[in-house]
């Protein structure tokens, strides 16, 4: 039996990240041996992992950007694909990883978490996402998903002595296992129905008609439920607020950003690629989930007093919006959803980055009341936060407005006017809690007059770039939008 050597070039960034993740792990394990005082080891921040991670992600970004040519390249016997959408999403993933690392450094150092584990896990999570993004086979998809999930479970539990964090990790793990079970069950049915795990072939088989539509519907429901969990859409959203709230903010920042990109890729690969012939069926499921998510996310966010929880619910609503773009089943809709998720990740990074920025040792800055009168204490940070909140609320001229607009246009274009109306109405409700943050910062008197601690210059700079980027992308929405639509066109057009 011959086993052909696969073409490794399309997977070069993955291989690089895999190797470097192992290096960071090994370095952490061996470099500190021989130092006597354990407490000192624990307390002292170690920057090697941090630096290695940044370098790895930058190198991977270079590699991906360098090899990106808009052509789909398949390798590993059709299990792995490198196409335009994958390149764009991977680049965004690296960016999110880099931003997460930079934003988190001071926070981690303050809490004695500045060690190799966080960065090794971060790299493994990135690797998992990359595999998901490039999967063209149900096995690869599941492999990447589990790699990501396991890394995230561990990251949530990074503070082993924090009961809340551990509880959150426990919930995440159990519910994640349940979701994986549902997903695998659904996949097994699809396999039974089509006799293949390869997405392209599955689509081809389904397009030829199926003997047993009930099995297909069954399989779809379970697969969609699994997807819903990963995206965090209602009614599979229950884990989101607890995990966002319970995890250390540095981890929340990460969970709230890059994995959304991977989840989006997951949805597109599975539904738009493998199950496109069953579009009429999953479209309705997505519509139901989207409306539920918009409703629950926006309504529940209003009642929150903790900004991390509030943003968790807001994520649910945003993911509902994302589903609206996907459910159209058209190229425009996919492109709009891609644009939406990319801009959402940028906004989400900024918002959590700001929370991290305001936190200090022994103070999490995660209560809404902590933001009262922020303008008088740190006007620049307040302005950045205001930009991010207004953008998330979908106000022009910020990028969030165009993201929503594009999705709504795709929806209306596909004839789903009532869904567009529902989406707009719930966005209106959502504007309330975003604007409340702005109101707290600008019109309320602060609890404390402590100046905001001076944080590292690089994080501060990146935060400014992030916030102003949201404004700039809103003023000049066309390039990024065109890029997203083009990537989708090259991949599925």
């Amino acid at each position: 039996m011959t086993f052909p050597m696969p073409d490794l070039l399309p997977a070069a960034p993955e291989i690089l990240v895999l190797v470097m993740a192992c290096v960071v792990l090994m370095f952490e394990a061996y470099a500190v041996r021989g130092q006597a005082d354990r407490s000192e080891i624990v307390a002292r921040p170690r920057v090697a992992g941090y630096v290695l991670t940044l370098l790895t992600l930058l190198a991977a970004a270079g590699l991906t950007a360098f090899t990106a040519n808009g052509v789909s390249a398949t390798t590993f016997s059709g299990m792995f694909v490198d196409d335009a959408m994958a390149d764009l999403l991977k680049l965004m993933t690296y960016l999110a990883g880099i931003a997460a690392a930079i934003y988190s450094r001071q926070y981690l150092a303050d809490r004695a978490l500045m060690r190799g584990e966080y960065f090794a896990l971060l790299l493994f999570a990135v690797l998992g996402m990359m595999v998901m993004i490039s999967a063209s086979h149900l096995l690869t998809l599941y492999l990447g998903l589990e790699l990501l999930s396991l890394a995230l479970y561990a990251m949530v539990a990074l503070r082993r002595d924090d009961a809340v964090a551990v509880e959150a990790a426990m919930k995440y793990f159990v519910l994640g296992a349940l979701a994986s079970g549902l997903l695998l069950y659904g996949m097994s049915m699809l396999y039974g129905l089509t006799g293949t795990l390869e997405l392209n072939k599955m689509a081809a088989t389904l397009a030829g008609g199926v003997d047993n539509p009930v099995v297909l519907a069954f399989g779809l429901v379970f697969v969609v439920a699994g997807l819903g969990f990963k995206l965090g859409t209602a009614p599979f959203h229950m884990w989101v607020p607890d995990i966002y709230h319970g995890a250390p903010t540095a981890v929340t920042l990460f969970i709230g950003s890059a994995p959304k990109l991977a989840a989006f890729a997951f949805v597109i690969r599975l539904l738009a690629d493998g199950l496109q012939p069953a579009h009429a069926d999953w479209q309705q499921m997505l519509a139901v989930m989207a409306v539920l998510s918009l409703a629950i996310g926006n309504l529940a966010a209003i009642m929150q007093t903790n900004i991390k929880r509030m943003l968790a619910y807001s994520t649910i609503a945003h993911m509902g919006f994302l589903l609206l773009g996907v459910m159209t089943g058209e190229l425009n809709g996919y492109g709009a959803a891609l644009y939406y998720v990319v801009t959402y990740v940028i906004m989400s990074l900024g918002a959590f980055g700001l929370i991290l920025h305001l936190a200090r040792a022994g103070f999490e800055a995660d209560a809404l009341d902590d933001y009262k009168g922020l303008n008088s204490r740190a006007p620049w940070l307040a302005a950045l936060m205001a930009i991010l909140m207004l953008s998330m609320a979908g106000l022009p001229p910020f990028v969030g407005f165009y993201a929503k607009l594009t999705v709504l246009q795709a929806l209306v274009g596909a004839g789903w006017i009532w869904l567009a109306v529902v989406a707009v109405l719930f966005s209106l409700v959502g504007a309330y809690y975003y604007l409340r943050v702005v109101k707290l910062m600008y019109f309320d008197t602060p609890h404390s007059h402590e100046p905001v601690l001076a944080t590292p210059g690089d994080a501060r700079l990146l935060l400014s770039v992030n916030g102003l980027g949201v404004l700039l992308l809103g003023l000049l929405p066309q390039p990024l939008l065109a890029l997203c639509l083009e990537a989708m066109r090259l991949t599925y057009g």
């Binding site: 549902l182 819903g228 009614p235 599979f236 607890d242 069926d281 529940a300 009642m303």
Partner: protein, 670 residues
């Protein structure tokens, strides 16, 4: 210079002046402001003369100069239609505007808003020119609204005066009523003609003459009648025709140059011009013409009556303007469009003259406008006296002066018409001659002749004069003698007096009976013979004067002057007695037939009542209470419910997922 550039110069030169004076008024100072605006208007005037001569030579123009936007079949363009009708209007507008600009230097000399005022009047000139030069309904409407806006700004120019604010609000609201009709008319034209271009509309009009539309089910209306009446409602607002006339007398709150420029000579004639321009449409509907005729007749006579009891010098002239606008409208109604335009032109000269002369009197009287406090001013203000006398003689139709030719032509045309309502109109315009002569000379005698009442009457008016202490801040107390106004005031008076005398004699033959207007004005001579019978009776201007001396209107005018002389010069006790005897009649006139009271009570009060109700029930209860706060409360309750689902128990979460899957399965697997 190419003609198209010249056409563009006419509106753009005043616009440039307006922009410079408006935006950089502080930087360029008072002299700078009046220099640029006067230069702009003077250029426009000279260009208008050139264009007029070009048009006389037979060159007309109709075409777009700039396309604003295209939406489907709807093309929105800036375009000019230059024909004799436009050329006459351009000349009148720029000439009167130029005189008013110069006059303003003297009248507003001490006003702090000097630059602003020049900017406004130059802007007005621009808007008015855009209106008259337009070749499509959109631009017409733009000019229409723009002149309305500037008029609004200028009536309220002294915005600290409550009465001025009331007056400009009133003018604005009343004009909205007219503009709504106008806009509906334009909308109907767009729907049925599919174009807004004059030429195309006029071309298609005969084909649509028989079309009917059903406003109320089962009662078809002729399309042309509806369109024309709607357009005329717009004209009623702008040209202050009964019952939308109520804003014009109050507009006298604005500075006097404005009363002359906007509220006598130009803007108020926009309605007349528009109807004349739309003559191809109006000719198709006798009903609409009768409507125009009756409205005009009512305005001509009944507004004249009101002029007889006014004591404010500007209000007398204002009611006279209303009455004369009624005359023009009557002329339109009997299809004598060229006569209407002719009267519009002569009226613009002598009415602007009357207003500016009245303004000169007001300056001389240190801003006291009550004619009961004047008298014997003749020897103090000789130039003002003689020019005002010329204006008044022209107004009442003294044979030989400009007003005679235009007004007599209107009267004759009315007699020649056999339209429904023409009998009433003929009576109204004839009786109006007596009324006009009476109120004009009542004012004249009270102001310039008789005892000098200003020496002792002033005390009672001091506070009023202070309140009105406007442009001419130098209030010397009541006892200084009136003085003649400076040359910047008197020169425009003289300039305007010249055409007031000769314009009628010189232009009646070409404008009314020659082929001057060409195709600009369309008359269906078979159905509306007024113009033809007028032409048959006309044997030259000299013969008309001779005939005028033995006709009824002349003797009515003489009787009016004589009555005024008898009542206000010989038996000065009589007016008081008549007033007491006439009781109710006098009160009716005093209260202007109760229109203002009715409007205040019904429209203003009603609107406030409805508004109050809507506010209480609609806004406070329904919108704020149920919709806004109700929604907020509902959202809050829902949010609480949603939050309570988040129990924190992992088995609840898992259960929710299972239920979700179960529901999806029941939903989609059948």
């Amino acid at each position: 210079m190419d003609m198209k550039t010249l056409y563009l110069t006419v509106p753009l030169a005043p616009l440039a002046g307006a922009i410079i004076a408006g935006l950089f008024g502080r930087a360029i100072g008072r002299v700078g402001a009046h220099t640029v605006t006067i230069a702009g208007v003077a250029i426009a005037f000279l260009a208008s003369i050139l264009i007029f001569q070009d048009v006389l030579a037979g060159n007309t123009f109709n075409g777009p100069v700039y396309t604003w936007l295209t939406s489907g079949d709807l093309r929105l363009e800036i375009g000019f239609l230059i024909d004799p009708l436009t050329a006459v209007m351009m000349l009148v507008v720029t000439f009167v505007s130029l005189c008013v600009h110069v006059y303003t230097i003297g009248y507003m000399a001490d006003d702090p808003g000097y630059q602003r005022f020049f900017s406004y009047i130059a802007l007005f000139t621009f808007a008015m020119l855009m209106l008259v030069m337009s070749n499509n309904f959109l631009q017409l409407f733009f000019g229409w609204e723009a002149v309305g806006l500037v008029s609004y700004l200028l009536i309220g120019f002294w915005y600290t005066r409550e009465s001025a604010i009331y007056a400009n609000l009133k003018a604005f609201l009343v004009n909205r009523v007219g503009d709504l009709g106008f806009l509906l008319g334009i909308g109907l034209i767009w729907v049925h003609f599919g174009t807004l271009d004059y030429a195309e509309v006029f071309q298609k009009a005969p084909q649509l003459a028989e079309r009917t539309i059903s406003l109320i089910q089962g009662y078809p209306w002729a399309l042309m009648t509806v369109i024309c009446i709607l357009l005329f409602i717009g004209a009623m607002g702008k040209s202050a025709q009964f019952p939308l006339h109520v804003w014009l007398p109050d507009s006298m709150e604005g500075p006097t140059p404005i009363s002359a420029l906007i509220h006598a000579a130009t803007m108020v004639t926009a309605g007349i011009f528009m109807v004349a321009r739309m003559s191809p449409l109006f000719e198709l509907s006798d009903t609409a013409l009768s409507f125009v005729l009756v409205i005009g007749a009512i305005t001509a006579l009944f507004m004249g009556f009101l002029g007889m009891v006014q004591n404010d010098i500007k209000r007398v002239v204002a009611y006279s303007t209303l009455s004369q606008l009624g005359y023009m409208t009557v002329a339109l109604g009997v299809s004598a469009y060229s006569v209407a335009i002719f009267h519009l032109m002569t009226h613009a000269f002598f009415k602007a003259l009357l207003f500016l002369a009245a303004g000169s009197v007001i300056i001389g009287m240190h801003h006291d406008q009550d004619i009961r406090n004047m008298g014997g001013l003749r020897k103090y203000m000789p130039i003002t006296w003689i020019t005002l006398l010329i204006g008044s003689l022209a107004l009442i139709g003294t044979p030989g002066l400009s007003g005679f030719f235009s007004k007599d032509s209107i009267i004759l045309a009315t007699y020649a018409s056999d339209l429904w309502g023409s009998g009433f109109a003929a009576f109204a315009v004839t009786a109006g001659v007596f009324v006009t002569a009476f109120y004009s000379f009542r004012m004249y005698f009270l102001v310039f002749h008789g005892p000098e009442r200003f020496r002792h009457a002033h005390d009672t008016h001091d506070h009023e004069a202070d309140k009105n202490g406007d442009a001419h801040g130098h209030h010397h107390g009541g006892h200084a003698a009136p003085h003649e106004s400076p040359w910047v005031v008197t020169v425009p008076l003289i300039l305007l007096a010249i055409p007031s005398i000769y314009a009628g004699w010189a232009y009646i033959e070409p404008m009314l009976f020659g082929d001057f207007f060409g195709s600009a004005i369309v008359v269906n001579h078979a159905a509306h013979p007024a113009m033809q019978s007028l032409a048959e009776q006309f044997h030259g201007a000299g013969a008309m004067v001779l005939h005028g001396l033995v006709s009824l209107p002349f003797w009515l005018a003489v009787a009016g002057v004589a009555t005024a002389w008898y009542l206000y010069m010989v038996r000065r006790d009589l007016p008081e007695k008549i007033r007491r005897k006439a009781g109710i009649l006098y009160t009716i006139l005093e209260r202007k037939y109760g229109f203002d009271d009715f409007n205040d009570w019904f429209f203003a009060g009603g609107a406030r009542l409805v508004g109050g109700r809507l506010w209480r029930w609609g806004d406070v209860f329904a919108i704020d209470g149920v919709l806004v706060n109700g929604t907020a409360r509902a959202v809050g309750r829902l949010a609480a419910v949603v939050r309570s689902l988040q129990t924190g128990y992992i088995y609840h979460y898992a259960f929710a997922m299972i239920i979700g899957v179960a529901l999806l399965i029941t939903w989609f697997v059948d």
